[in-house]
């Protein structure tokens, strides 16, 4: 059951990444064509960046995308390591290390997303 849970979320995270990375690509690289969330200028222009940073939609999706990418990537790496037939003790160590490392990276990313959102809104306010 544990492995079914882990694998299911690996797939769900993959699907989430596919959708939101797709959105990122459209916003950042098809700005000339689609012009989504670009405030009428280039996607990397100051107005566009500030505009997106003020939107809670982006703050939330950044956090979710970060969580999904970390989970998907670290689970994939864990699978590769496990497939080199490491012993039970190593498997446990890898699990603990990856959970701790993943949570630390997630915390840094969330801090970044939240402060950006707050500062962007304060700058306008």
């Amino acid at each position: 059951m544990k492995e079914t849970r882990n694998w299911t979320w690996h797939i769900v995270a993959g699907a989430f990444i596919f959708v939101f990375l797709g959105l990122h690509m459209i916003v950042m690289h098809l700005d000339d064509v689609v012009g989504l969330f670009t405030s009428g200028v280039g996607a990397t222009d100051w107005e566009s960046v500030l505009g997106r940073s003020r939107m809670s939609f982006f703050a939330v999706t950044y956090v979710l995308l970060l969580g999904a990418a970390l989970y998907h990537g670290l689970f994939g790496l864990r699978s590769i390591l496990f497939e080199s037939n490491v012993g039970r003790a190593w498997q446990k160590a890898i699990n603990v290390l990856f959970w701790l490392g993943g949570l630390c990276l997630f915390a840094v990313g969330v801090f970044q997303a939240v402060t950006t959102f707050l500062h962007a809104n304060a700058a306008v306010g």
Binding site: M1, E3, T4, W7, N85
Partner: protein
């Protein structure tokens, strides 16, 4: 009258006697066989005419028992089901080696005990908790043709182990359950008479179970019975995931008929089943 065409072929056979040889070696035999002869026929010819010490395993000679699996001209095949002419390389050469990924008992005889242990581990039979396995005499478990279609393809497996040999994951992870046992786990999970989903998920829904499959698909390529174990494994993963997400619920659903099926008639020539010789009791 048509003449029987005779072929002269060279068999390059992998020999190994664990008690005598330090390591395996190749031995060549030149034999004459008739057109249409199978690789197994060629091995019989060698034993009968040249070398009675050559060991290999076979039984039915018709692709049913699954005992004659070998690595023939580099690919896992059934020796009784493969014509020599189909596998000639470099003109008239056939190479024959035991199935890899298993220990060798002698020459072309692999030790398939791990295969059968893994098969046994997935509980390859109908499980019905707190219920009789067999319905009462005169009744039967009801199952629609559509329910039968869900798993019938996977019942054609003859446990030959060719899929296990073709699988790159099994080659690198001896703990991996492998295509045959996983396909059989799905065969029973998909059977509407079965109630052993949870039990099999504990065994097959693990890091060395269904999730270890990377879908190389070679198992299905080499399967001589069209079982398509790669597909079964993907369906198995789907069942596990959908059940975890509570999209589907599993339990033995098939109910027992009240009596003989109304309107059903015995086909001409089909004999009555013999009467039970022991008293039938529900399992407790």
């Amino acid at each position: 009258m048509s003449e029987t065409r005779i072929l002269e072929v060279v068999y390059r056979v992998r020999r190994f006697h664990p008690e005598k040889d330090e390591k395996p070696y190749w031995q060549e035999y030149t034999i004459q066989v008739e057109k249409g002869a199978t690789v197994l026929d060629g091995l019989h010819r060698i034993r009968e005419t040249t070398d009675p010490t050559l060991s290999y395993r076979y039984s039915c000679r018709m692709g049913v028992c699954g005992s004659c699996g070998m690595l023939i001209s580099g690919k896992p095949r059934l020796a009784c089901n493969t014509q020599i002419e189909e596998v000639l390389i470099q003109g008239n050469l056939v190479t024959v080696a035991p199935l890899p990924n298993f220990d060798v008992v002698k020459d072309l005889v692999p030790d398939l005990a791990p295969l059968f242990e893994k098969h046994r581990a997935v509980r390859p039979h109908i499980l019905r908790e707190g219920d009789a396995l067999d319905p009462e005499p005169g009744t039967e478990w009801l199952q629609t043709p559509q329910e039968l279609d869900r798993y019938v393809q996977f019942t054609y497996c003859i446990r030959c182990g060719l899929c296990m040999v073709a699988c790159p994951t099994f080659a690198t992870d001896p703990e991996y359950l492998g295509p045959m046992p996983l396909a059989q786990a799905y065969r029973y999970i998909a059977d509407s008479r079965d109630g052993g989903f949870e039990t099999r998920r504990e065994i097959a829904g693990t890091a060395h179970g269904a999730y270890r499959c990377h879908y190389a698909g070679e198992c299905s390529n080499v399967c001589p019975k069209g079982v398509d174990p790669a597909r079964a494994i993907q369906l198995l993963k789907r069942e596990f995931v959908l059940s975890y997400l509570k999209v589907i619920r599993h339990r033995g659903k098939a109910s027992r008929s009240e009596g003989p099926i109304a309107g059903a008639e015995r086909k001409a020539g089909v004999p009555e089943a013999p009467a039970y010789t022991i008293e039938q009791k529900p399992l407790t």
